[in-house]
């Protein structure tokens, strides 16, 4: 499987021996369009919120169809909303319709059976997914070479909730089963009826009721209820009783069963497939391909999964709406022309007739792929199948591309092509490729595959546990979840659709049920939203991603009483702000602008409550690669971006700034936080409540060593002896160690290259570095991690505070003081 990223569907078809003609290549995708039903007037639902536009509801329902992949079904690729409730559906399309096919040449009985066997296969798959077609007619059956069949537009009934969301009826009345005319919808057996009607039309070489009006056709069909052999009756009515009598006995039996008016006598699709008259077809499909190799194989590009092709088509400049406009399916008219000429006081109006362009038009617009094929023509075959384990990896593609801003990279078709192929490959190999995946994700993540890539970065391994969690039993949290969901990222079409609401509710309830130790805190909804957005059709993946994400970054945050955790987190945030932005920290502390007032929503939701989705995606792309301390640096990066305003503002201005956060440049924010994250020794971010992979070692800061009271009392963070040791041994140029002990003690034993400033000699009143009378002190501290070391902890605390006031960057305190350095083996101390 790993070496077959080809479109498996073309392989699965044993009959795919045909030559691919260039003309066919161009029509692999198509678009259809219709209008969703408008809500009359400005109506609000019972909750006071406006009703969700039907086009959004359709968009939400249609997502599920995109997951269906079967050789007898055209794949759904996208649903797009236009203006005025216009809905556009993009799907696979190839070959010609059965309607045209039958016109072109008369079909043999074998051919007809071959076609309808495949139709039945398609229906059977849909039935397995609890879907019905209710839209079957010859123009929705596509015939490719070798009579390979795909059903088209089979999801219209589902996506429009049985037609409730659109102002037109669904299905061709000629093929409609009697029970549907009576209003009983939703049974797959109605589709079996339609199949039989189409089949008999071909077998009897006739057209059903070509001249009758709709109402008369309906009457005819309803009259079948009094008939005990519908098939014979139709044959007689259409003057083809002879053909009827010549029909193969098995075929006749099949049709008669399928056209039974009582549903109980009609077969299910699966039963249909087992009928004896389909025996040859079954054999044919079961038999291995007869060995003929494609004479002219498809271009490599067209063997990629359709979702990738469609994505690249869009990047190549493909615009579905523009294509529809070209075909005249979307016509824009000056709104002024639609103004009524007379409006009566009772509200009725007279004026121009409703424009024709609002009527249903079922034309199919092909989306041409030749531009895309041209654009990628020169790519060598090797890039389609990146060799991730060859010694040449990482291959040399687009080194200079990676210098460009992310937004440009995300829109560059060739770059995305490489990234998508590479990540698709890596995902196929996951979890064995986890390390490579991590490395590549650090460069960037292709938007098309973000959902599964995130899941892989979070070490998710789907295990069907989600299905087993109770998401339905009512709980006391339900009301809160229900009032939060309609407020959660509702500018997004998917999340605002009724399906989106249902899914989010299920995810939240599942999370709460799966964590009896935790409770639902407002904000969990925002936190879940990005995962749902990316994995809309894969709730399990969304759930497991959330399931892994929370302990990694928000361990204990969702406890009933989380105050200790939040206070610790925010204190650490203050300390780290002092570490990286001493002057800003000093200012904020002086105006009493504490993180409790603004940063709780930042961290509790990992910024998902603060930023719109598109920004969160880029932010989390990087967040996923860092550990539990990474979000703290994002917070500092935000402060940094607003620094100039904050420094000149008082309390009110500052808090106002954060109540209505100004536009943050995400890329700068990400780069800044990354820089700080990398330049901060790990122990600096120590938190008691963080999730630990391994227990602390002797030179680490112990889990319970630092209490909240210490955090509150100490402006600067503590560093572990282990990190100091690491700096001494591996990066002495990045360390400035200030030894606060007396001259005598210092002379006896010291860390090499440390600076001795005896605490007793300094006056901390004046907040200037010069006051210390150490020559070129600032030079010696610049660009380094400044570690204050003393035997007396309080001295280090006070001195570090002094350094912060002087604006010295990256000041910290050695945890456990100088004496801990004695315990290091081998010894690093010297004496003079």
């Amino acid at each position: 499987m790993a070496n077959a990223p080809l479109n498996t569907k073309s392989n699965a078809n044993p009959n795919a021996t045909a030559t691919a003609q260039p003309a066919k290549i161009e029509t692999r995708l198509c678009a259809i369009t219709f209008f969703a039903r408008l809500h009359p007037g400005d109506v609000c639902g019972s909750n006071g919120l406006p009703l969700t536009p039907n086009s959004i509801a359709i968009l939400g329902r249609a997502q599920r169809l995109r997951e269906l992949e079967h050789e007898n079904l055209c794949q759904y690729l996208d649903v797009i909303r236009g203006k005025h409730e216009r809905t556009i559906v993009v799907s696979e399309y190839s070959g010609c319709t059965l309607e045209e096919h039958a016109k072109r040449s008369s079909l043999s009985q074998t051919q007809i059976l071959r076609i309808f066997y495949q139709v039945a296969c398609g229906i059977n798959v849909l039935h397995a997914h609890k879907l019905v077609v209710h839209n079957l007619e010859p123009k929705h059956i596509l015939i490719q070479e070798q009579d390979h069949v795909k059903l088209f537009n089979y999801g219209l009934y589902h996506m429009t909730k049985g037609g409730a969301y659109v102002p037109f009826p669904i299905g061709n009345i000629r093929y409609m089963a009697p029970e549907r005319l009576l209003g009983a919808n939703g049974n797959i057996k109605s589709d079996v009826w339609a199949l039989a009607m189409m089949m008999l039309e071909l077998l009897l070489q006739t057209t059903l009721w070509p001249k009758l009006k709709l109402s008369n056709i309906a009457r005819k069909i309803l009259a079948f209820g009094r008939s005990n052999n519908v098939l014979e009756r139709i044959a007689r009515e259409h003057d083809c009783y002879n053909l009827y009598q010549q029909l193969d006995v098995d075929v006749r039996a099949l049709l008669e069963r399928c056209l039974s008016v009582p549903l109980s006598q009609r077969p299910l699709p699966s039963e249909l497939l087992a009928y004896p008259c389909f025996d040859p077809q079954r054999e044919e499909l079961r038999a291995p391909s007869n060995g003929t190799v494609d004479a002219a194989p498809l271009p490599l590009l067209l063997r990629c999964p359709l979702s990738q092709i469609y994505h690249l088509w869009q990047l190549a400049g493909g615009d579905v709406q523009a294509e529809l406009k070209k075909e005249g399916l979307i016509r824009s008219e000056a709104p002024i022309l639609a103004l009524p000429q007379v409006v009566r006081l009772n509200g009725s109006s007279a004026g121009p007739k409703r424009s024709q362009s609002y009527l249903m038009d079922d034309r199919i617009v092909p989306l041409k792929l030749n531009t895309l094929v041209q654009r990628l023509r020169r790519l060598p075959a090797s890039v389609y199948f990146p060799l991730i384990h060859s010694p040449r990896f990482p291959y040399e593609f687009a080194g200079e591309m990676q210098q460009l801003p992310l937004v440009i990279r995300e829109r560059d078709i060739e770059y995305q092509f490489h990234r998508v192929r590479l990540f698709a490959r890596l995902l196929q190999g996951y979890p064995h490729t986890a390390e490579l995946l991590q490395r590549e994700a650090a460069v960037d993540i292709p938007p098309l595959l973000r959902g599964p890539v995130w899941a892989a970065l979070l070490e998710v391994i789907p295990n069907s546990s989600y299905a087993k969690i109770d998401k339905f039993t009512a709980t006391s949290t339900d009301r809160q979840i229900e009032v939060d969901i309609p407020r959660c990222h509702q500018y997004d079409e998917l999340l605002s659709s009724p399906d989106g609401h249902r899914k989010l509710k299920r995810l939240l309830k599942a999370w709460v049920t799966a964590h009896p130790q935790y409770v639902y805190w407002q904000g969990l909804d925002s936190l879940t939203a990005p995962f749902l957005y990316l994995n809309f059709n894969n709730e399990e993946l969304a759930f497991l991603s959330l399931f892994k994400f929370i302990p990694k970054y928000l361990q204990w945050f969702f406890l009933q009483d989380n105050s200790a955790i939040i206070r610790e987190y925010l204190s650490k945030f203050s300390q780290l702000t002092a570490f990286h932005e001493p002057l800003l920290a000093q200012h904020l502390a002086s105006i009493n602008f504490i993180p409790e007032l603004f940063a709780i929503p930042w961290f509790l939701t990992m910024f998902s409550h603060v930023f719109p989705l598109h920004k969160i995606l880029h932010l989390w792309d990087k967040l996923m690669l860092g550990d539990s301390s990474y979000p703290l640096f994002i917070g500092i990066a935000i402060l940094k971006q607003l620094k100039s305003t904050l420094l000149t503002s008082g309390f009110n201005e500052c808090i106002l700034l954060f109540s209505d956060l100004p536009d943050i440049v995400m890329e700068t924010c990400v780069i800044e936080s990354q820089k700080m994250y990398e330049s901060t020794p790990k122990s600096i971010t120590h938190r008691k409540h963080a999730l630990r992979q391994q227990p602390p070692q002797t030179l680490d800061i112990g889990i319970d060593d630092v209490e909240l009271k210490h955090l509150l009392a100490e402006q600067c963070p503590r560093i572990s002896a282990k990190d100091v040791l690491h700096l001494v041994q591996h990066a002495p140029g990045e360390l400035a160690l200030i030894d606060l002990r007396s001259v005598v003690e210092f002379a006896r034993v010291q860390v090499p290259h440390s600076i001795n400033i005896p605490f007793a000699t300094v006056l901390l009143g004046e907040q200037r570095l010069d006051a210390l009378n150490v020559p070129q002190l600032e030079m010696q501290l610049r660009g380094r991690v400044v570690v204050c070391v003393s035997n007396i902890h309080q001295h280090a605390v006070e001195f570090s505070q002094f350094l912060v006031a002087c604006g010295i960057l990256r000041t910290c305190i050695l945890h456990k003081g100088f004496n801990v350095l004695h315990s290091i083996e081998p010894n690093i101390l010297i004496s003079t």
Binding site: R487, W521, G523, S563, E596, P601, N652, L656
Partner: protein, 219 residues
């Protein structure tokens, strides 16, 4: 009416006194409390920016906004703390109502539970908040009064018994939004600005007894 709510603006510098520069000015800290999703943030948004968002997002922790209005010759600046409604965030609430001179307790007229919750908030404020705090009860979502559950008279009576200002409001239509803030501003003592007087602990003065006409202001 002599009120002109003006944009607070993000800069905080927009509170220019209307017209003459001789206006007296007062600052008051006001806190909004109430059950989740009753419309606290929407009320503030309507009052401060004149806007209404159908899908106003939930508030986590709290949000802070300011708005300045003029009453007669006094400029009153409200510093508004809009709090999270979820019961779990309750522990944060004292941080916001401590030292507040005014509070608006909001409920949703189509939700009985939110009215009960409002009563609990009022009790808590009487017990814990500054004794002179001016409390207003707002029955929000009055535009949906055809499907109301909490009767106007019931709430009105409760408010009278407890010495609260009371109005039914609609952040969506704007009904009574400015009025409730204005009523609070009128009821607030303006002679000594933000200071608490310390008298009458636990008992509310009713409207006539407050020195609403006193205009000899303030800081």
């Amino acid at each position: 009416m002599a009120t002109t709510p003006r944009s607070g603006g993000a800069s905080g510098a927009a509170q220019r006194p209307n017209g003459t520069s001789q206006n007296k000015s007062c600052q008051f800290k006001l806190v909004l409390l109430g059950e989740s999703a009753v419309g606290k943030s929407s009320l503030v948004l309507r009052f401060v920016k004149g806007q209404f968002h159908e899908y106003q997002e939930s508030t986590i922790g709290a949000a802070f906004l300011t708005q300045t209005i003029c009453i007669e010759d006094t400029v009153v600046k409200f510093e508004i703390w809009d709090t999270a409604g979820q019961e779990r965030y309750h522990s944060l609430a004292p941080m916001y109502y401590r030292g507040a001179q005014a509070a608006i307790v909001v409920y949703d007229i189509q939700n009985q539970d939110s009215f009960q919750r409002a009563k609990t908030w009022v009790k808590e404020l009487h017990k814990q908040a500054s004794p002179n705090i001016v409390i207003a009860l707002a029955g929000n979502k009055a535009d949906l009064s055809n499907i109301r559950v909490v009767e106007f008279d019931e709430a009105k009576q409760y408010a009278e018994e407890n010495g609260l200002l009371f109005m039914e409001t609609s952040a969506k239509t704007g009904m009574n939004v400015n009025d409730i803030f204005l009523a609070i501003a009128k009821k607030l003592p303006k002679n000594d600005g933000a200071n608490n007087q310390g008298a009458g602990a636990g008992r509310r003065l009713n409207e006539n007894e407050t020195n609403r006409q006193t205009n000899n202001c303030c800081k």
